[in-house]
């Protein structure tokens, strides 16, 4: 579908009248009536008809140049839906569990001319193979561009629904339950208790660690001195005891320290945005906070969470294990979307700017016109 960003530019098409008028009202070629044309029937002769055709060709070329320039002014854009077929597909997500009403719907569709496909990149035949969760919206957008009608059977998993929901006209989504898959096994290795040493006196940190210990399954021991990797030293006091440096550098413990020289002074209320610098020191790690430990922010509820994220870093959630769902109504299209908006939104990424194409076309036509206008070299050199 051709679309013009500046439709007023099409008014320039009126300039097409100029060459047409010139062609129609050009001064007639001088006519000489001779008794005989036998002396003109040399290689130089050119039939009137040929020349007429040439004139017409030249006119068309000139019209083409002007038309492409006018098009260029109008800034044309080609808007999508290329390759839109009349196909109807019923698509099944690999992790969708089709049962009950959605199963009936699936059977009804496949029985009434819908082709069964897999809702996965490529839209191949249904293989039953496990597939990674996909970006549903982008797949649906692709279907929208491709098919006359598509029905997608897929679970409304949050992990598959990234970004904004596109407005879809030719794609219908039937939310289904998820196929139950065994969750990935955790490592069965016995876990060593985490040892935490606090240098200096800070009740909020004590409280936070206590909270972490209660929430998590890991054992957290409060010790006065640590010497193993994975252990933590919270240095609240101004001066560091002599055992800290070897514990960090040689034994590999973690040290959390606040830099006193920070120009920002104490933390005010902008928790949780700690600026933490990790510096590897020997085998261990030094975590520097560029602000001072302050009782105000340590009293917030987010502080124990932060402490937990330090002590017990979470492994990344596997997509298979992501059990978070969205309410299908959340994913449903809102009524406010107008059709006009739909088509524009849909095709925004498919549109191609044809302005440069028109420019190239004009240039090519101009070249052709010049070539044709000066075409026959009249063979002057052939005359004796």
């Amino acid at each position: 579908m051709l679309h013009f960003l500046f439709p007023l530019g099409l008014l320039a098409l009126a300039s097409l009248l100029i060459p047409v008028a010139i062609h129609l009202f050009r001064p007639p070629v001088r006519t000489v009536r001779l008794g005989s044309l036998r002396f003109l029937q040399s290689p130089y002769r050119r039939r009137w008809q040929d020349s007429q055709w040439r004139q017409v060709a030249l006119l068309l070329l000139r019209l083409g140049i002007l038309a492409s320039l006018a098009l260029m002014l109008a800034r044309p854009e080609w808007i999508g839906q290329m390759g839109l077929t009349t196909k109807k597909w019923a698509l099944l997500s690999p992790d969708a569990n089709v049962e009950g009403e959605s199963l009936l719907e699936w059977k009804r569709l496949t029985g009434s001319g819908f082709e069964a496909r897999e809702f996965a990149p490529g839209f191949g035949r249904i293989s039953g193979k496990r597939a990674e969760p996909v970006d549903m919206w982008s797949l649906m957008r692709e279907l929208e561009m491709r098919n006359a009608e598509s029905v997608v059977f897929a679970p409304a998993r949050q992990i598959s629904l990234r970004g904004e929901r596109p407005a879809l006209r030719r794609v219908r989504w039937v939310p289904t339950p998820l196929v139950e898959t065994p969750s990935p096994k955790r490592s069965a290795a016995p876990q060593r208790p985490i040892k935490v040493a606090i240098v200096g006196d800070s009740p909020p940190i004590h409280a936070a660690i206590e909270a972490v210990r209660k929430v998590s399954a890991r054992k957290i021991d409060m010790v006065s001195e640590v010497s193993e990797p994975g252990d933590w030293i919270f240095q609240i006091a101004e001066t560091a005891p002599p055992w800290i440096a070897p514990a960090v550098e040689e034994k590999g413990a973690n040290l959390l320290v606040s830099t006193k020289s920070s120009p920002n002074g104490t933390w005010s209320g902008d928790w949780p945005n700690p600026s933490v610098t990790r510096i590897r020191q020997g085998r261990g790690m030094v975590w520097q906070i560029d602000k001072e430990f302050a009782p105000e922010w340590m009293a917030t509820t987010a502080f124990p969470d932060w402490i937990r994220s330090l002590l017990l870093p979470q492994p990344p959630v596997l997509p298979e294990a992501d059990r978070r769902w969205v309410d299908p109504s959340q994913a449903a299209p809102s009524e406010r979307v107008s059709i006009q908006k739909v088509s524009l939104d849909l095709t925004a990424d498919r549109s191609a700017n044809l302005g440069s194409l028109a420019w190239i076309l004009a240039a090519v036509l101009f070249l052709a016109e010049r070539l044709l206008a000066h075409a026959p070299p009249r063979q002057r050199e052939a005359s004796p």
């Binding site: 001088r30 008794g35 005989s36 044309l37 002396f39 039939r47 009249r378 002057r380 005359s383 004796p384």
Partner: protein, 303 residues
């Protein structure tokens, strides 16, 4: 030379008609020339011969007998009437115009003048016009006032069509003339044409004249622009007879055109110049007198 426009037969023809033009022109041209019929003495004196028994007594010069008391016959040259046949090309190509004058107008004036001259000298004169594929003839001796008849026919004529495709037509028309008074040897054919043909049809028609060793005066009428080709730029050339059109850059084709034209004129000249043939090329901007003088020369040789 007729440089004075008042006596230019072309001007007179355009203003006062062919007949006046031809008469005035011819009278001016042949003033002082002995015209055989008016003199009342048609026969030129040759010799006296003694009477031989058996001679026609009508030819005895009785006045000489009164003086000399002998019978003498007054002998003269054979009466030299000459069949003049004018072949006029009235095909459409003769409508070629230059300075608002048609080539055909020149041809018509010449034909009228030849007819006038012939009539003045008592020669039977006929006119054969080739036009639109046909030959129309006014046979010599068929009319009491051949000149008037011819002039009338000429004035009614407009150039049209092409030369006759079959060469026999003209030969047949001319053959009738030969059977008219006078013998075959004393016929003069005057051809007035521009020579523009499509497939040698004019040449083929005239070839029998050449083969039979007729006396022929070939008047070739050419246009000045046809010969000099003064055109420049893109010109659409139209062939008058066929309407065929060729568009060409005149400047570019000029050299070739002139060469071809020259060769073509040479062809005609070579064919129609010889012992018994006269070739006379007249441009449309040249005085027509030359053709007439050429006729008179040939006519005088016959006397």
């Amino acid at each position: 030379m007729n440089s004075n426009p008042m006596i230019d037969p072309r001007v007179i023809a355009a203003t006062r008609g062919l007949e006046v033009a031809a008469r005035k022109w011819v009278t001016g041209l042949v003033a002082g020339m002995h015209s055989s019929r008016r003199s009342g003495f048609a026969r030129e004196f040759s010799q006296y011969r003694a009477y031989q028994p058996g001679d026609d007594t009508r030819h005895i010069d009785w006045k000489l007998f009164a003086r000399s008391d002998r019978y003498f016959l007054r002998e003269s040259d054979v009466d030299t009437t000459m069949n003049v046949r004018i072949v006029l090309d009235a095909t459409e190509s003769m409508a070629y115009k230059e300075d608002r004058r048609r080539k055909f107008d020149d041809a018509r004036i010449l034909a009228a003048a030849f007819a006038c001259l012939a009539a003045e000298q008592g020669d039977p004169v006929g006119l054969h016009t080739v036009r639109d594929g046909h030959v129309e003839s006014i046979q010599p001796g068929a009319h009491r006032q051949p000149f008037r008849r011819i002039v009338y026919a000429l004035e009614q004529l407009t150039p049209a069509g092409k030369w006759t495709a079959s060469p026999r037509r003209l030969s047949a028309a001319l053959a009738q003339t030969v059977r008219a008074p006078g013998d075959a040897s004393s016929a003069l054919t005057i051809i007035l044409t521009d020579g523009h043909e499509h497939s040698e049809e004019i040449r083929n028609s005239l070839l029998p004249l050449r083969a039979r060793r007729h006396e022929v005066l070939f008047v070739h009428l050419t246009g000045h622009d046809e010969a000099s080709f003064p055109y420049t730029g893109l010109v659409r050339f139209e062939e008058i007879e066929t309407g065929r059109i060729i568009e060409a850059d005149a400047g570019a084709v000029r050299t070739a055109y002139l060469g071809e034209n020259e060769r073509w004129l040479d062809d005609w000249r070579r064919v129609w110049r010889g012992d018994r043939f006269d070739y006379c090329r007249i441009g449309m901007n040249e005085p027509l007198d030359r053709a007439l003088r050429s006729y008179l020369r040939r006519r005088a040789r016959r006397n």
